[in-house]
Protein backbone atom coordinates (compact mmCIF):
# COMPACT_ATOMS: atom_id res chain seq x y z
CA UNK A 1 0.00 0.00 0.00
CA UNK A 2 1.63 3.28 -1.02
CA UNK A 3 1.83 5.94 1.66
CA UNK A 4 1.41 8.77 -0.84
CA UNK A 5 -1.43 9.60 -3.26
CA UNK A 6 -0.76 8.90 -6.94
CA UNK A 7 0.08 11.86 -9.10
CA UNK A 8 -2.65 13.27 -11.31
CA UNK A 9 -0.49 13.89 -14.32
CA UNK A 10 -1.71 10.56 -15.54
CA UNK A 11 -5.32 11.64 -15.21
CA UNK A 12 -5.13 13.94 -18.17
CA UNK A 13 -7.08 17.18 -18.09
CA UNK A 14 -5.15 19.59 -20.18
CA UNK A 15 -7.94 22.19 -19.99
CA UNK A 16 -8.58 24.67 -17.18
CA UNK A 17 -8.59 23.12 -13.70
CA UNK A 18 -11.86 23.71 -11.85
CA UNK A 19 -11.09 21.85 -8.64
CA UNK A 20 -7.78 20.81 -7.16
CA UNK A 21 -7.58 19.04 -3.82
CA UNK A 22 -4.21 18.49 -2.17
CA UNK A 23 -3.34 16.71 1.06
CA UNK A 24 -6.95 16.54 2.26
CA UNK A 25 -7.21 15.07 5.74
CA UNK A 26 -10.27 14.56 7.93
CA UNK A 27 -10.55 12.93 11.33
CA UNK A 28 -13.63 12.38 13.46
CA UNK A 29 -13.58 12.09 17.21
CA UNK A 30 -15.65 9.52 19.01
CA UNK A 31 -16.40 9.51 22.71
CA UNK A 32 -18.82 10.87 25.26
CA UNK A 33 -19.00 12.51 28.64
CA UNK A 34 -17.88 9.30 30.28
CA UNK A 35 -15.68 7.78 27.57
CA UNK A 36 -12.29 8.92 26.35
CA UNK A 37 -12.39 10.75 23.04
CA UNK A 38 -10.62 8.86 20.25
CA UNK A 39 -9.72 10.30 16.84
CA UNK A 40 -10.65 8.17 13.82
CA UNK A 41 -9.06 9.12 10.49
CA UNK A 42 -11.63 8.98 7.69
CA UNK A 43 -9.33 10.52 5.07
CA UNK A 44 -5.59 10.41 5.67
CA UNK A 45 -4.43 12.17 2.53
CA UNK A 46 -6.26 12.72 -0.72
CA UNK A 47 -5.20 14.60 -3.84
CA UNK A 48 -7.36 15.08 -6.90
CA UNK A 49 -7.86 17.46 -9.77
CA UNK A 50 -10.80 17.93 -12.14
CA UNK A 51 -10.84 20.06 -15.24
CA UNK A 52 -13.97 21.87 -16.40
CA UNK A 53 -16.47 19.55 -18.10
CA UNK A 54 -14.81 16.35 -16.86
CA UNK A 55 -16.23 13.60 -14.68
CA UNK A 56 -13.97 12.24 -11.97
CA UNK A 57 -15.26 9.19 -10.15
CA UNK A 58 -13.99 8.29 -6.71
CA UNK A 59 -14.62 4.62 -6.06
CA UNK A 60 -13.90 2.43 -3.09
CA UNK A 61 -15.40 0.09 -0.56
CA UNK A 62 -17.63 1.32 2.26
CA UNK A 63 -15.53 3.18 4.82
CA UNK A 64 -12.74 3.96 2.38
CA UNK A 65 -13.29 7.70 2.89
CA UNK A 66 -14.74 8.64 -0.52
CA UNK A 67 -17.94 10.19 0.88
CA UNK A 68 -15.87 12.17 3.39
CA UNK A 69 -13.83 13.60 0.51
CA UNK A 70 -17.12 14.55 -1.21
CA UNK A 71 -18.48 16.19 1.94
CA UNK A 72 -15.26 18.12 2.45
CA UNK A 73 -15.20 19.29 -1.18
CA UNK A 74 -18.83 20.44 -0.86
CA UNK A 75 -17.78 22.00 2.46
CA UNK A 76 -20.47 20.21 4.44
CA UNK A 77 -17.49 19.18 6.54
CA UNK A 78 -14.45 21.31 7.30
CA UNK A 79 -11.26 19.35 6.55
CA UNK A 80 -8.58 19.15 9.23
CA UNK A 81 -5.78 19.77 6.76
CA UNK A 82 -5.16 20.22 3.06
CA UNK A 83 -6.25 22.57 0.33
CA UNK A 84 -9.45 22.64 -1.72
CA UNK A 85 -8.76 25.01 -4.57
CA UNK A 86 -11.91 26.07 -6.38
CA UNK A 87 -10.76 28.01 -9.45
CA UNK A 88 -7.62 28.94 -7.56
CA UNK A 89 -9.23 29.95 -4.24
CA UNK A 90 -8.66 27.74 -1.23
CA UNK A 91 -12.07 27.12 0.31
CA UNK A 92 -10.92 24.47 2.81
CA UNK A 93 -11.00 26.73 5.84
CA UNK A 94 -13.34 29.50 4.68
CA UNK A 95 -15.97 30.72 7.16
CA UNK A 96 -19.68 30.17 6.44
CA UNK A 97 -20.30 33.69 5.08
CA UNK A 98 -17.22 33.67 2.87
CA UNK A 99 -18.24 30.26 1.49
CA UNK A 100 -21.60 31.46 0.18
CA UNK A 101 -20.37 32.60 -3.29
CA UNK A 102 -18.63 29.23 -3.73
CA UNK A 103 -21.78 27.32 -2.77
CA UNK A 104 -23.33 28.66 -5.99
CA UNK A 105 -20.48 27.15 -8.01
CA UNK A 106 -20.67 23.67 -6.49
CA UNK A 107 -23.60 21.63 -5.30
CA UNK A 108 -23.98 18.20 -3.81
CA UNK A 109 -26.53 15.49 -4.61
CA UNK A 110 -26.93 12.87 -1.92
CA UNK A 111 -27.41 9.13 -2.22
CA UNK A 112 -30.74 8.95 -0.49
CA UNK A 113 -33.05 11.43 -2.17
CA UNK A 114 -35.80 10.43 0.29
CA UNK A 115 -33.89 11.67 3.34
CA UNK A 116 -32.05 14.53 1.62
CA UNK A 117 -35.18 16.67 1.42
CA UNK A 118 -37.26 18.22 4.17
CA UNK A 119 -40.24 15.84 4.55
CA UNK A 120 -42.57 18.80 5.19
CA UNK A 121 -41.71 20.51 1.91
CA UNK A 122 -43.41 20.41 -1.48
CA UNK A 123 -41.33 19.88 -4.65
CA UNK A 124 -41.46 23.63 -5.28
CA UNK A 125 -40.23 24.47 -1.78
CA UNK A 126 -37.34 22.02 -2.16
CA UNK A 127 -36.26 23.40 -5.54
CA UNK A 128 -36.65 27.06 -4.64
CA UNK A 129 -34.84 26.84 -1.27
CA UNK A 130 -31.40 27.80 -2.72
CA UNK A 131 -33.02 30.74 -4.54
CA UNK A 132 -34.54 31.99 -1.29
CA UNK A 133 -31.03 32.28 0.11
CA UNK A 134 -30.15 34.52 -2.81
CA UNK A 135 -33.34 36.50 -2.12
CA UNK A 136 -34.79 36.05 -5.58
CA UNK A 137 -38.39 37.18 -6.12
CA UNK A 138 -41.27 34.74 -5.82
CA UNK A 139 -42.03 34.93 -9.57
CA UNK A 140 -38.41 34.32 -10.52
CA UNK A 141 -38.20 31.38 -8.17
CA UNK A 142 -41.37 29.84 -9.50
CA UNK A 143 -40.42 30.32 -13.15
CA UNK A 144 -36.99 28.79 -12.63
CA UNK A 145 -38.42 25.87 -10.63
CA UNK A 146 -40.92 25.23 -13.42
CA UNK A 147 -38.17 25.27 -16.08
CA UNK A 148 -35.93 22.99 -14.03
CA UNK A 149 -38.70 20.50 -13.40
CA UNK A 150 -39.28 20.23 -17.14
CA UNK A 151 -35.53 19.89 -17.72
CA UNK A 152 -35.17 16.98 -15.31
CA UNK A 153 -38.22 15.25 -16.79
CA UNK A 154 -40.90 16.07 -14.24
CA UNK A 155 -44.25 17.72 -14.87
CA UNK A 156 -44.38 21.25 -13.38
CA UNK A 157 -48.00 20.50 -12.46
CA UNK A 158 -46.58 18.39 -9.64
CA UNK A 159 -44.64 21.24 -8.04
CA UNK A 160 -47.13 21.69 -5.20
CA UNK A 161 -47.16 17.99 -4.32
CA UNK A 162 -45.58 16.97 -1.04
CA UNK A 163 -42.14 15.49 -1.47
CA UNK A 164 -43.39 12.29 0.16
CA UNK A 165 -45.64 11.67 -2.87
CA UNK A 166 -42.71 11.18 -5.27
CA UNK A 167 -40.89 7.94 -6.03
CA UNK A 168 -37.16 7.47 -5.38
CA UNK A 169 -36.21 8.18 -8.99
CA UNK A 170 -38.46 11.26 -9.13
CA UNK A 171 -36.94 12.57 -5.92
CA UNK A 172 -33.46 12.13 -7.36
CA UNK A 173 -34.61 14.25 -10.32
CA UNK A 174 -35.91 16.88 -7.87
CA UNK A 175 -32.54 16.74 -6.08
CA UNK A 176 -30.80 17.40 -9.40
CA UNK A 177 -33.21 20.28 -10.12
CA UNK A 178 -32.46 21.74 -6.69
CA UNK A 179 -28.73 21.47 -7.30
CA UNK A 180 -29.06 23.17 -10.68
CA UNK A 181 -30.97 26.22 -9.37
CA UNK A 182 -27.68 27.82 -8.32
CA UNK A 183 -26.26 27.32 -11.86
CA UNK A 184 -23.26 25.41 -10.45
CA UNK A 185 -20.12 24.48 -12.33
CA UNK A 186 -19.37 21.44 -10.18
CA UNK A 187 -21.82 18.78 -9.00
CA UNK A 188 -20.69 16.40 -6.27
CA UNK A 189 -22.77 13.26 -6.71
CA UNK A 190 -22.45 11.15 -3.57
CA UNK A 191 -23.73 7.68 -4.55
CA UNK A 192 -26.50 9.46 -6.45
CA UNK A 193 -27.18 6.33 -8.53
CA UNK A 194 -27.11 3.87 -5.66
CA UNK A 195 -30.32 2.41 -4.30
CA UNK A 196 -32.25 2.90 -7.55
CA UNK A 197 -33.56 0.06 -9.68
CA UNK A 198 -31.58 -0.70 -12.85
CA UNK A 199 -34.04 1.06 -15.16
CA UNK A 200 -34.21 4.23 -13.03
CA UNK A 201 -30.43 4.13 -12.60
CA UNK A 202 -30.03 4.14 -16.38
CA UNK A 203 -32.52 7.00 -16.75
CA UNK A 204 -30.73 9.12 -14.13
CA UNK A 205 -27.34 8.30 -15.67
CA UNK A 206 -28.63 9.48 -19.08
CA UNK A 207 -30.08 12.58 -17.47
CA UNK A 208 -26.68 13.32 -15.88
CA UNK A 209 -25.00 13.01 -19.30
CA UNK A 210 -27.60 15.34 -20.88
CA UNK A 211 -27.31 17.90 -18.08
CA UNK A 212 -23.53 17.83 -18.30
CA UNK A 213 -23.70 18.63 -21.99
CA UNK A 214 -26.38 21.30 -21.58
CA UNK A 215 -24.77 23.15 -18.63
CA UNK A 216 -21.07 22.34 -19.17
CA UNK A 217 -21.11 20.68 -15.75
CA UNK A 218 -18.19 19.04 -14.02
CA UNK A 219 -18.95 15.98 -11.92
CA UNK A 220 -17.23 14.51 -8.89
CA UNK A 221 -18.96 11.15 -8.82
CA UNK A 222 -18.75 9.03 -5.68
CA UNK A 223 -19.63 5.37 -6.02
CA UNK A 224 -18.68 1.89 -4.94
CA UNK A 225 -19.77 0.47 -8.30
CA UNK A 226 -16.70 0.51 -10.55
CA UNK A 227 -18.57 -1.01 -13.49
CA UNK A 228 -21.21 1.75 -13.42
CA UNK A 229 -18.83 4.70 -13.09
CA UNK A 230 -16.61 3.32 -15.86
CA UNK A 231 -19.45 4.21 -18.25
CA UNK A 232 -19.84 7.76 -16.94
CA UNK A 233 -16.40 8.90 -15.81
CA UNK A 234 -13.44 10.28 -17.73
CA UNK A 235 -11.15 9.70 -14.77
CA UNK A 236 -11.27 7.31 -11.84
CA UNK A 237 -9.60 7.53 -8.45
CA UNK A 238 -9.70 4.40 -6.27
CA UNK A 239 -9.81 4.96 -2.52
CA UNK A 240 -8.85 2.53 0.23
CA UNK A 241 -8.33 3.19 3.91
CA UNK A 242 -8.50 6.95 3.59
CA UNK A 243 -6.11 7.29 0.66
CA UNK A 244 -6.38 7.45 -3.14
CA UNK A 245 -4.37 4.37 -4.04
CA UNK A 246 -4.76 4.40 -7.81
CA UNK A 247 -5.86 7.03 -10.28
CA UNK A 248 -6.02 7.48 -14.01
CA UNK A 249 -8.25 7.50 -17.10
CA UNK A 250 -11.35 5.36 -16.64
CA UNK A 251 -10.53 2.87 -19.40
CA UNK A 252 -7.00 2.38 -18.10
CA UNK A 253 -8.20 1.70 -14.54
CA UNK A 254 -10.80 -0.81 -15.71
CA UNK A 255 -8.65 -2.61 -18.28
CA UNK A 256 -5.35 -2.59 -16.41
CA UNK A 257 -5.89 -2.33 -12.64
CA UNK A 258 -2.67 -2.11 -10.64
CA UNK A 259 -3.62 -1.84 -6.99
CA UNK A 260 -5.18 -4.80 -5.09
CA UNK A 261 -8.10 -2.58 -3.97
CA UNK A 262 -8.92 -1.78 -7.61
CA UNK A 263 -8.68 -5.44 -8.57
CA UNK A 264 -10.97 -6.36 -5.69
CA UNK A 265 -13.57 -3.77 -6.76
CA UNK A 266 -13.45 -5.01 -10.36
CA UNK A 267 -13.80 -8.61 -9.23
CA UNK A 268 -16.84 -7.63 -7.12
CA UNK A 269 -18.40 -5.81 -10.07
CA UNK A 270 -17.82 -8.80 -12.36
CA UNK A 271 -19.23 -11.20 -9.76
CA UNK A 272 -22.33 -9.04 -9.36
CA UNK A 273 -22.80 -8.87 -13.13
CA UNK A 274 -22.41 -12.65 -13.43
CA UNK A 275 -24.94 -13.18 -10.64
CA UNK A 276 -27.41 -10.86 -12.36
CA UNK A 277 -26.86 -12.71 -15.64
CA UNK A 278 -27.58 -16.01 -13.90
CA UNK A 279 -30.79 -14.63 -12.41
CA UNK A 280 -32.13 -12.80 -15.46
CA UNK A 281 -30.57 -14.96 -18.13
CA UNK A 282 -29.43 -11.81 -19.91
CA UNK A 283 -26.09 -10.20 -20.37
CA UNK A 284 -25.47 -6.70 -18.99
Amino acid sequence: MPTHSPTYSSMGGSSESLLRVTGLCKRYTRGSLWRKRVAVAAVISADLEISRGQTLALVGESGSGKSTVARCVARIERPDAGQILMQGTDIAQLAVAALLPFRCRMQMVFQDAVTSMNPRFSALEVIEEPMRIRRETTDDRRDRARALMIEVGLSPDWMHRSISNFSGGQRQRIALARALTMRPQLLVLDEALTGLDVSTQAQIANLLIDLQAAHQLTYLLISHDLALVARLADLIGVMAEGRIVEAGPAQQIVSDPKHPATKKLLASAEAAAAKLTRITGASL
Binding site: L33, T115, M117
Partner: protein
Protein backbone atom coordinates in the same frame (compact mmCIF):
# COMPACT_ATOMS: atom_id res chain seq x y z
CA UNK B 1 -61.84 18.17 11.20
CA UNK B 2 -62.43 14.45 11.18
CA UNK B 3 -59.08 14.00 12.93
CA UNK B 4 -60.20 16.27 15.80
CA UNK B 5 -63.61 14.60 16.01
CA UNK B 6 -61.97 11.19 16.25
CA UNK B 7 -59.68 12.45 18.98
CA UNK B 8 -62.61 14.00 20.90
CA UNK B 9 -64.58 10.75 20.57
CA UNK B 10 -61.57 8.82 21.89
CA UNK B 11 -61.24 11.28 24.79
CA UNK B 12 -64.91 10.75 25.73
CA UNK B 13 -64.51 6.97 25.61
CA UNK B 14 -61.35 7.20 27.71
CA UNK B 15 -63.10 9.39 30.30
CA UNK B 16 -65.93 6.84 30.57
CA UNK B 17 -63.44 4.00 30.95
CA UNK B 18 -61.52 5.87 33.67
CA UNK B 19 -64.72 6.63 35.58
CA UNK B 20 -65.85 2.96 35.37
CA UNK B 21 -62.45 1.75 36.61
CA UNK B 22 -62.55 4.35 39.40
CA UNK B 23 -65.88 2.96 40.60
CA UNK B 24 -64.68 -0.62 40.30
CA UNK B 25 -61.41 -0.04 42.21
CA UNK B 26 -63.01 2.01 44.99
CA UNK B 27 -65.57 -0.79 45.38
CA UNK B 28 -62.79 -3.39 45.55
CA UNK B 29 -60.82 -1.38 48.14
CA UNK B 30 -61.33 -2.73 51.68
CA UNK B 31 -63.36 -0.77 54.23
CA UNK B 32 -65.78 2.16 53.91
CA UNK B 33 -66.48 5.51 55.53
CA UNK B 34 -69.05 3.85 57.84
CA UNK B 35 -66.64 1.20 59.25
CA UNK B 36 -65.41 3.57 61.96
CA UNK B 37 -69.03 4.40 62.86
CA UNK B 38 -69.72 0.71 63.41
CA UNK B 39 -67.09 0.71 66.19
CA UNK B 40 -69.00 3.47 67.99
CA UNK B 41 -71.57 1.81 70.32
CA UNK B 42 -73.63 5.05 70.38
CA UNK B 43 -74.48 4.69 66.67
CA UNK B 44 -76.96 1.89 65.98
CA UNK B 45 -76.62 -0.43 62.95
CA UNK B 46 -80.00 0.86 61.75
CA UNK B 47 -78.68 4.43 61.69
CA UNK B 48 -75.66 3.31 59.68
CA UNK B 49 -77.89 1.41 57.26
CA UNK B 50 -80.11 4.48 56.93
CA UNK B 51 -77.03 6.65 56.24
CA UNK B 52 -75.74 4.17 53.62
CA UNK B 53 -79.17 4.19 52.04
CA UNK B 54 -79.36 8.01 52.05
CA UNK B 55 -76.02 8.18 50.16
CA UNK B 56 -77.23 5.45 47.80
CA UNK B 57 -74.44 3.07 48.87
CA UNK B 58 -76.87 0.19 49.39
CA UNK B 59 -77.48 0.00 45.63
CA UNK B 60 -75.54 -2.39 43.33
CA UNK B 61 -72.37 -0.99 41.76
CA UNK B 62 -73.82 -0.78 38.23
CA UNK B 63 -76.83 1.21 39.44
CA UNK B 64 -74.60 3.60 41.43
CA UNK B 65 -72.31 4.05 38.43
CA UNK B 66 -75.21 4.73 36.06
CA UNK B 67 -76.66 7.27 38.51
CA UNK B 68 -73.26 8.93 38.95
CA UNK B 69 -72.70 9.20 35.16
CA UNK B 70 -76.19 10.67 34.72
CA UNK B 71 -75.59 13.18 37.52
CA UNK B 72 -72.04 13.96 36.29
CA UNK B 73 -73.46 14.91 32.88
CA UNK B 74 -75.35 17.63 34.81
CA UNK B 75 -72.10 18.68 36.57
CA UNK B 76 -73.11 16.92 39.81
CA UNK B 77 -70.25 14.76 41.09
CA UNK B 78 -72.04 13.41 44.14
CA UNK B 79 -71.93 14.23 47.83
CA UNK B 80 -68.94 14.17 50.18
CA UNK B 81 -69.72 12.09 53.25
CA UNK B 82 -66.81 13.47 55.31
CA UNK B 83 -67.38 17.16 54.48
CA UNK B 84 -71.18 16.77 54.28
CA UNK B 85 -71.40 18.93 51.18
CA UNK B 86 -71.54 18.46 47.39
CA UNK B 87 -68.29 17.29 45.83
CA UNK B 88 -68.20 19.81 42.96
CA UNK B 89 -67.75 23.08 44.94
CA UNK B 90 -65.39 21.29 47.34
CA UNK B 91 -63.32 19.96 44.48
CA UNK B 92 -63.35 23.19 42.49
CA UNK B 93 -62.13 25.28 45.45
CA UNK B 94 -59.01 23.05 45.57
CA UNK B 95 -58.75 22.18 41.87
CA UNK B 96 -58.23 25.80 40.84
CA UNK B 97 -55.20 25.94 43.18
CA UNK B 98 -53.84 22.75 41.61
CA UNK B 99 -54.48 24.16 38.15
CA UNK B 100 -52.63 27.37 39.06
CA UNK B 101 -49.69 25.33 40.34
CA UNK B 102 -49.63 22.84 37.45
CA UNK B 103 -50.08 25.37 34.65
CA UNK B 104 -47.41 27.67 36.16
CA UNK B 105 -45.03 24.71 36.43
CA UNK B 106 -45.91 23.59 32.88
CA UNK B 107 -45.19 27.05 31.46
CA UNK B 108 -41.89 27.36 33.36
CA UNK B 109 -40.85 23.82 32.36
CA UNK B 110 -41.41 24.34 28.64
CA UNK B 111 -40.14 27.92 28.56
CA UNK B 112 -36.80 26.73 29.92
CA UNK B 113 -36.61 23.18 28.52
CA UNK B 114 -37.19 23.96 24.83
CA UNK B 115 -34.49 26.66 24.39
CA UNK B 116 -32.10 24.75 26.67
CA UNK B 117 -32.62 21.46 24.79
CA UNK B 118 -32.19 23.19 21.41
CA UNK B 119 -29.08 25.02 22.64
CA UNK B 120 -27.53 21.83 24.05
CA UNK B 121 -28.20 19.94 20.79
CA UNK B 122 -26.92 22.78 18.64
CA UNK B 123 -23.70 22.93 20.68
CA UNK B 124 -23.31 19.18 21.10
CA UNK B 125 -20.42 18.25 23.36
CA UNK B 126 -20.07 21.84 24.59
CA UNK B 127 -20.17 23.11 28.15
CA UNK B 128 -23.96 23.70 28.17
CA UNK B 129 -24.59 20.25 26.69
CA UNK B 130 -22.44 18.57 29.32
CA UNK B 131 -24.04 20.59 32.13
CA UNK B 132 -27.53 19.67 30.85
CA UNK B 133 -26.60 15.96 30.60
CA UNK B 134 -25.09 15.90 34.08
CA UNK B 135 -27.80 18.02 35.76
CA UNK B 136 -30.71 16.15 34.19
CA UNK B 137 -29.17 12.75 35.01
CA UNK B 138 -28.85 13.82 38.63
CA UNK B 139 -32.41 15.17 38.92
CA UNK B 140 -33.93 12.12 37.18
CA UNK B 141 -32.07 9.71 39.45
CA UNK B 142 -33.20 11.40 42.67
CA UNK B 143 -36.83 10.77 43.77
CA UNK B 144 -39.13 13.79 43.45
CA UNK B 145 -40.00 13.57 47.14
CA UNK B 146 -36.32 13.90 48.13
CA UNK B 147 -35.86 16.92 45.86
CA UNK B 148 -39.02 18.49 47.32
CA UNK B 149 -37.92 17.95 50.91
CA UNK B 150 -34.34 19.13 50.19
CA UNK B 151 -35.50 22.35 48.52
CA UNK B 152 -38.04 22.90 51.28
CA UNK B 153 -35.28 22.51 53.89
CA UNK B 154 -33.06 25.00 52.03
CA UNK B 155 -35.87 27.54 51.70
CA UNK B 156 -36.77 27.23 55.39
CA UNK B 157 -33.10 27.47 56.47
CA UNK B 158 -32.34 30.54 54.35
CA UNK B 159 -35.83 32.05 54.81
CA UNK B 160 -35.92 33.21 51.21
CA UNK B 161 -39.53 32.22 50.50
CA UNK B 162 -42.68 31.71 52.59
CA UNK B 163 -43.62 28.07 53.14
CA UNK B 164 -47.14 26.60 53.53
CA UNK B 165 -50.47 27.82 52.22
CA UNK B 166 -51.18 30.19 49.36
CA UNK B 167 -51.21 33.55 51.11
CA UNK B 168 -49.69 35.12 54.22
CA UNK B 169 -51.91 35.26 57.32
CA UNK B 170 -52.21 39.06 57.12
CA UNK B 171 -52.77 39.19 53.35
CA UNK B 172 -56.30 40.61 53.74
CA UNK B 173 -54.78 43.98 54.51
CA UNK B 174 -52.61 43.90 51.33
CA UNK B 175 -53.25 45.87 48.16
CA UNK B 176 -54.09 43.88 45.02
CA UNK B 177 -50.51 44.10 43.73
CA UNK B 178 -49.12 43.04 47.10
CA UNK B 179 -51.58 40.12 47.15
CA UNK B 180 -50.37 38.97 43.71
CA UNK B 181 -46.76 39.26 44.87
CA UNK B 182 -47.57 37.33 48.04
CA UNK B 183 -49.26 34.59 46.00
CA UNK B 184 -46.28 34.44 43.61
CA UNK B 185 -43.87 34.07 46.55
CA UNK B 186 -45.94 31.21 48.01
CA UNK B 187 -46.24 29.63 44.57
CA UNK B 188 -42.51 29.85 43.78
CA UNK B 189 -41.27 26.84 45.78
CA UNK B 190 -43.82 24.20 44.67
CA UNK B 191 -43.55 25.45 41.06
CA UNK B 192 -39.75 25.27 41.23
CA UNK B 193 -39.81 21.70 42.58
CA UNK B 194 -42.31 20.52 39.98
CA UNK B 195 -40.62 22.32 37.07
CA UNK B 196 -37.15 21.11 38.05
CA UNK B 197 -38.21 17.46 38.10
CA UNK B 198 -40.16 17.70 34.83
CA UNK B 199 -37.54 19.84 33.10
CA UNK B 200 -34.90 17.13 33.52
CA UNK B 201 -37.03 14.81 31.37
CA UNK B 202 -38.31 17.31 28.81
CA UNK B 203 -34.91 18.90 28.13
CA UNK B 204 -33.43 15.49 27.33
CA UNK B 205 -36.28 14.66 24.96
CA UNK B 206 -36.03 18.04 23.20
CA UNK B 207 -32.24 17.67 22.90
CA UNK B 208 -32.58 14.15 21.49
CA UNK B 209 -35.28 15.22 18.98
CA UNK B 210 -33.26 18.20 17.76
CA UNK B 211 -30.06 16.12 17.56
CA UNK B 212 -31.83 13.49 15.49
CA UNK B 213 -33.07 16.09 13.01
CA UNK B 214 -29.72 17.96 12.97
CA UNK B 215 -28.08 14.70 11.88
CA UNK B 216 -30.64 14.13 9.12
CA UNK B 217 -29.33 14.16 5.55
CA UNK B 218 -31.75 16.88 4.52
CA UNK B 219 -30.32 19.23 7.13
CA UNK B 220 -26.81 18.54 5.83
CA UNK B 221 -28.12 19.11 2.31
CA UNK B 222 -29.60 22.44 3.44
CA UNK B 223 -26.22 23.35 4.96
CA UNK B 224 -24.58 22.46 1.66
CA UNK B 225 -26.97 24.86 -0.09
CA UNK B 226 -25.77 27.64 2.20
CA UNK B 227 -28.94 27.95 4.31
CA UNK B 228 -28.21 30.26 7.25
CA UNK B 229 -28.02 28.80 10.75
CA UNK B 230 -31.18 30.67 11.83
CA UNK B 231 -33.26 29.50 8.86
CA UNK B 232 -31.85 26.01 9.22
CA UNK B 233 -32.98 25.85 12.84
CA UNK B 234 -36.37 27.54 12.53
CA UNK B 235 -37.45 26.37 9.06
CA UNK B 236 -35.88 22.93 8.78
CA UNK B 237 -35.04 21.55 12.22
CA UNK B 238 -37.56 22.81 14.78
CA UNK B 239 -40.79 22.13 12.83
CA UNK B 240 -39.77 18.48 12.41
CA UNK B 241 -38.26 18.12 15.90
CA UNK B 242 -41.43 19.67 17.38
CA UNK B 243 -43.54 16.53 16.75
CA UNK B 244 -42.13 14.31 19.51
CA UNK B 245 -41.89 17.31 21.83
CA UNK B 246 -45.57 18.18 21.31
CA UNK B 247 -46.55 14.55 21.89
CA UNK B 248 -44.70 14.84 25.17
CA UNK B 249 -46.93 17.71 26.28
CA UNK B 250 -49.69 15.32 27.32
CA UNK B 251 -47.25 13.13 29.26
CA UNK B 252 -45.72 16.23 30.78
CA UNK B 253 -49.15 17.34 32.05
CA UNK B 254 -49.69 13.89 33.54
CA UNK B 255 -46.27 13.97 35.19
CA UNK B 256 -46.81 17.45 36.60
CA UNK B 257 -50.27 16.61 37.89
CA UNK B 258 -49.20 13.44 39.65
CA UNK B 259 -46.11 15.24 40.94
CA UNK B 260 -48.23 18.14 42.17
CA UNK B 261 -50.19 15.80 44.47
CA UNK B 262 -46.96 14.97 46.33
CA UNK B 263 -45.54 18.48 46.21
CA UNK B 264 -48.79 19.98 47.51
CA UNK B 265 -48.68 17.71 50.54
CA UNK B 266 -44.96 18.46 51.20
CA UNK B 267 -45.27 22.23 50.69
CA UNK B 268 -48.70 22.61 52.30
CA UNK B 269 -50.25 23.96 49.08
CA UNK B 270 -54.05 23.78 49.42
CA UNK B 271 -54.69 21.86 46.21
CA UNK B 272 -56.22 18.55 45.24
CA UNK B 273 -53.31 16.53 46.65
CA UNK B 274 -54.05 16.96 50.37
CA UNK B 275 -57.81 16.72 49.65
CA UNK B 276 -57.52 13.42 47.76
CA UNK B 277 -55.17 12.07 50.43
CA UNK B 278 -57.64 12.93 53.22
CA UNK B 279 -60.57 11.59 51.17
CA UNK B 280 -58.74 8.33 50.50
CA UNK B 281 -57.81 7.86 54.15
CA UNK B 282 -61.38 8.54 55.27
CA UNK B 283 -62.79 6.51 52.31
CA UNK B 284 -64.93 9.42 51.18
CA UNK B 285 -66.06 7.59 48.04
CA UNK B 286 -67.45 10.32 45.77
CA UNK B 287 -64.76 12.81 46.71
CA UNK B 288 -62.03 10.27 45.77
CA UNK B 289 -63.78 9.50 42.49
CA UNK B 290 -64.32 13.20 41.78
CA UNK B 291 -60.67 14.02 42.50
CA UNK B 292 -59.36 11.21 40.28
CA UNK B 293 -61.81 12.08 37.52
CA UNK B 294 -60.73 15.71 37.61
CA UNK B 295 -57.07 14.70 37.27
CA UNK B 296 -57.93 12.24 34.48
CA UNK B 297 -59.98 14.84 32.58
CA UNK B 298 -57.13 17.33 32.90
CA UNK B 299 -54.69 14.79 31.46
CA UNK B 300 -57.06 13.71 28.69
CA UNK B 301 -57.66 17.37 27.86
CA UNK B 302 -53.89 17.97 27.77
CA UNK B 303 -53.39 15.06 25.37
CA UNK B 304 -56.24 16.34 23.21
CA UNK B 305 -54.60 19.77 23.04
CA UNK B 306 -51.29 18.08 22.11
CA UNK B 307 -53.03 16.11 19.32
CA UNK B 308 -54.61 19.29 17.93
CA UNK B 309 -51.25 21.09 18.09
CA UNK B 310 -49.63 18.19 16.23
CA UNK B 311 -52.24 18.49 13.52
CA UNK B 312 -51.63 22.24 13.30
CA UNK B 313 -47.85 21.89 12.83
CA UNK B 314 -47.61 18.71 10.74
CA UNK B 315 -49.18 18.74 7.26
CA UNK B 316 -48.81 14.94 7.08
CA UNK B 317 -51.26 14.52 9.99
CA UNK B 318 -53.68 16.96 8.34
CA UNK B 319 -53.40 14.85 5.19
CA UNK B 320 -53.96 11.68 7.19
CA UNK B 321 -57.12 13.27 8.62
CA UNK B 322 -58.28 14.26 5.13
CA UNK B 323 -57.55 10.77 3.74
CA UNK B 324 -59.58 9.17 6.54
CA UNK B 325 -62.67 11.08 5.47
Amino acid sequence: MSYILRRVFRAILLSLAVSALCFLFTEMAPGSFFDEMRLNPQISPETILALRSSYGLDQPLAVRYARWVKAALHADLGYSIAYNMPVRPLLWSRAKNTLLLTISALALTWLISVPLGVWAANRRGGLVDKAVALGSSFVISVPELVIAVALLALVVRWRILPVGGMMSADSDAFSTLAKVQDLARHLALPVLILALCEMAIIVRHVRASVLEVLGATYVQAARGLGVSQGRLLFRHVLPVAANPAISLLGFSLAGLLSGSLIVEVVCGWPGLGPLILEATLSRDLYLVIGGIMFSALFMIGGNLVADIMLMAVDPRIRKEGADAR
